[in-house]
Assembly symmetry: C2
Homo-oligomer: 233 residues x 2
DNA sequence: ACCTGAACACCGTTCAAGT
DNA sequence: ACCTGAACACCGTTCAAGT
């Protein structure tokens, strides 16, 4: 039902813009997953035709680039409100806090890491985020060389997620005998491990078995290792 | 030009099979990248029609599952030839060797990690690979609990690759002033770091800036950290 | 300037039909 | 049993045309 208006002003719909397109893209992906994000469904969300989008974005890849920029900018805003450490040795908790804050943002957009990984051009926002990490590490006493290694070692963990290829809590474990042979007997060490740790893990995050506890374990392992390397490789 | 044959036997082309389809899929992706791997081009490679593939595989996802299984099986074969450690404390080099061997296989299929990450069902071959890692860690004195954490901490590194969101050697660095403002002044800490490390990195591997040295640095950081946790969290 | 309809070249997949 | 042609529902994208 269209509000026809009184006279000459015609505003049947607020006009499209790059910002509106990107916001709608995030909404569509949040609600329907990444496979729902097509140009046609994105246009639907905006009450327009697919072809109209091309006036505001170059192509679909441009939408994906833009969407990542919006999300990482949000991360930068959240992270910018975290205090910089006063003490010298507190680089670790400062970096840790930022990474966990970034993670909180990405948890609201579980599809975003997959898009982030496929970007070929470096987003300004991603550069800014890492620039800040380097600053904190330098202030914490790192050499440039170790800071550089640190960025590589952290990899995608720097932005708050990690790739889990293997989900111990899912396919093996629990009830054995789901396969042609008994899984537990095919993979005895894995099965034994899972039996003992009783990996009950109801929170699946970011789509992989990558829950908060395990993420922090891996993160701290790396941060502790880096801490030992300060002031020299 | 078809070899017509002498009489009644008609073998214009060896018949399709799941194995042939998967082998062709790997070939197509190796040669043309992941975006080249469509059902139609895959059929072309086999001298058949796209629709014929569906007699041997259920759907495209099945092709991707199968292709990963083939590659990780190859990894398992390579890794199976590595000696198991005699000494007790050598778990680390045993795991390290396996991971670096897995990496060598994946380096020949740079598109494979991206497919691996999107699998929803756990491959038997991936289970087997991780079962072996757990075995080595248990023999090396790890508790099941720490071994479990270790798998999570390694994440995709266990199979020889890591996600690099940020490529210091690429967009920033080198010649400044490519953007609207000077990149080096926008990201001073990053620029300073890059200037000092003079990151000349001609080998791009797996498609990300994730070269052998940096991969091993991150891997060793994690393995060393794990070593300290043996026999207790 | 902003938006659209029709059209193009491609997808994955189904299904009835061929041998 | 194995393979195929025609067809369907969907993509991203172009381009000339509308306001």
């Amino acid at each position: 039902m269209q509000v026809a208006g009184s006279g000459t002003e015609t505003q049947p719909r607020l006009p499209l813009s790059r910002e509106r397109v990107l916001a709608a893209a995030i909404k569509v992906a949040d609600e329907g997953g990444l496979e729902a994000l097509t140009m046609r469904r994105l246009a639907d969300e905006l009450g327009a035709e697919a072809m109209s989008l091309y006036y505001h974005v170059a192509k679909k890849e441009d939408v994906l680039d833009g969407v990542i920029d919006v999300i990482v900018t949000e991360i930068n805003n959240v992270v910018g409100q975290i205090d910089v450490p006063a003490r010298e040795g507190s680089w670790k908790s400062a970096v840790r806090q930022r990474i966990l804050a970034a993670r909180q943002v990405l948890l609201r957009h579980p599809w975003a890491p997959r898009v982030l990984e496929t970007r070929t051009t470096m987003s300004m926002a991603v550069l800014r985020y890492h620039d800040e990490l380097v600053r904190l590490m330098r202030q914490g006493g790192f050499s440039n060389d170790v800071a550089h290694h640190a960025l590589h070692a952290l990899g995608s963990r720097a932005l708050g997620f990690s790739q889990e290829l293997f989900d111990p809590g899912d396919s093996a474990g629990a009830d054995p005998g789901t396969g042609p042979q008994d899984l537990a007997s095919q993979f005895p060490h894995l099965a034994g491990m899972l039996e003992e740790v009783a990996h009950d893990d109801p929170d699946s995050t970011l789509g992989w078995c990558d829950d908060q506890t395990e993420f922090e374990f891996g993160l701290d392992l790396i941060l502790d290792g880096l801490d030992r390397l300060r002031d020299g490789p």
